[in-house]
Symmetry: C2
Subunit: 337 residues, 2 copies
């Protein structure tokens, strides 16, 4: 910059004004401006963005927090849960001039730095593991933060949240099974125990069973278990003709194991997944699934975050995004035996 200024016969101030001043608040003569631009071009001058960020105390970067109860998900295998969410975040951040950073290193080990050292203008945290350690970390967060998969009750209202309408989603799924004639209905829990949103879904499910006067007992909830052994045992002798699940991942696992054990989907058991990414379309049979609009949720999280970054006085918002039901091939009418 100094070199450019020297070459153009002006001061760095003028160079800065000519090349970077967006609003024309300060006037520079056309001739000078031209000279500056020429010099810059000849010297192949580029602003040092690190210096500018430092000066402006902003980075135009959003960080995505992994860990803390919810590991970084692989993008390339299994459910497209995380990939969908990220596509939404990246699309929206892009539209608004922000870039998106994954920093698993710092974060799954200890996100303290990333949430407080100024490297990001804001953060998106997808995790619903609400434990003391995480709450303490949150207190240190100096940048705006948006939580995905948490609801208003999280974080003392100090952070914005985005979550799908689990009540509606589970209702849609259950009603679908009821309409197909099923009455023996269970729920398969994701293998990840710390997935607290799954617990919410289970509670809603149990309440709805009561509401519909459907029987339920200790066997109504199937824990897949980390090694899927629970699911294995269940499929040796399934107790239901229809099941809801708390994730498409575990629903996919169930389809795979059922196939191996000769349990016919949907003829023996109708299965409804949760999420409804493209993963459901490629499974065979294609997986009927409650749809959680992840891409939209990612985009909304980015939008809320950037609004907060731009105006720190913005009120915290708590979005509940409607679910849908995508009927594919894994559910069918109850067969009389």
């Amino acid at each position: 910059m100094r070199d450019v200024a020297a070459k153009a016969g002006v001061t760095p101030t003028v160079v800065s004004r000519v090349l970077h001043n967006k609003a024309n608040t300060v006037r520079v003569s056309a001739a000078t401006a031209e000279r500056v631009r020429e010099a810059a071009s000849e010297l192949r001058y580029r602003v040092n963005i690190t210096a500018r960020n430092f000066r402006e105390q902003q980075t135009l970067m959003i960080g995505v927090l992994h860990g803390m109860g919810f590991e970084r998900q692989p993008l390339s295998v299994g459910s497209r849960y995380f990939a969908s969410l990220m596509d939404g975040v990246v699309d929206e951040a892009f539209r608004r001039g922000y870039s998106v950073t994954f920093c698993p290193s710092l974060l799954s080990v200890d996100p303290t730095g990333a949430i407080s050292d100024g490297r990001f203008d804001g953060l998106i945290w997808y995790s619903t593991d609400i434990n003391e350690q995480n709450m303490n970390l949150l207190k240190n967060c100096r940048a705006p933060l948006v939580m995905v998969h948490a609801n208003e009750s999280f974080g003392d209202g100090k952070v914005s949240t985005v979550i799908c309408d689990n009540q509606q989603g589970i209702e849609l799924g259950l009603n679908h099974l009821l309409e197909l004639g099923h009455t023996k209905i269970g729920m398969v829990m994701d293998r990840n125990r710390s997935f607290t949103e799954a617990q919410m879904r289970r509670e809603i499910f149990e309440q709805l069973l009561d509401k519909h006067n459907l029987p339920h007992d200790e066997f109504s909830i199937i824990n897949a278990e980390t090694d899927l052994s629970g699911l294995e045992r269940y499929l040796d002798n399934p107790l239901h003709t229809g099941v809801l699940t708390t994730s498409e991942t575990v629903a996919g696992d169930m389809v795979t194991i059922a196939d191996r054990k000769g349990v016919k989907i949907p003829d023996d058991i109708s299965i409804i997944g949760f999420d409804s990414t493209e993963y459901c379309d490629v499974l065979r049979p294609k997986l009927t699934s409650v749809s959680q609009p992840l891409r939209l949720m990612g985009a909304e999280a980015a939008r809320l975050l950037i609004e907060e970054i731009s105006d720190l006085s913005t009120r915290r918002q708590h979005l509940v995004i409607p679910c849908g039901l995508d009927i594919r091939e894994s559910t069918t009418t109850l067969k009389k035996k």
Copy 2:
């Protein structure tokens, strides 16, 4: 930091040394150090990473360049090509203390800033669209750059490259079809015309046909076309009993269209994809595919890049990663008619 220094009764210099000086090159008395740490903790002091980066002229961030002949790929739909590559990059960058940034905004429009304004310590560019515009952009790149999907001939040897062994891959695929008894063999080109690696695969294919004294003519190469109309027409009246493809994406398209048109895979045509991500496992029939070890390639690209960042005198390297062949369900022995 000033506050911490004041509280501990020392200067910022000492604070910096106590809290951030990795090598014990400078000694600070234990008592002082303790006082500083205490003050920092009480004031909840965090280093301002922007300031440090500015000072150190490094960011510990790697940028992933989209655009320039190869759009940002969606993570959540279609082939897992990009997701696999990114998982590899992120894993390796993580291991080495770097974070990974997607910045489609800046980059697909005009990457000039990102490649020269210091926001990244290095860049990974996945594109093989080698045109004049891109070569000019490259000249402005001030940070180390690693290209994925380019070979040594690219960029005058000034950048490191990572590519799969296309020769070997196509040979593996072709030999598989030959062993199954096929002699009428074609190649389906990806719908993306600017995908120059596909052109390399085509050339290799044509040379191999010659080598094996197999007939080939203008119909041996099937252009899928952007709207897949070429593939539609081809499947109305397929001329071959086996085809290689230049991507699993177009192979997947072919499977879908064949299903709709009643062309049986693999009985009517054996299809071999290219890439072999999990996408091939979920297609029905499962897609036999040349495997391009994308995750490894992403990791290797990150490794080369970080080595160059750490020591700018490092020689440029040009990796050629071996391919494999994953035999699944979309290929079978030639049926006599």
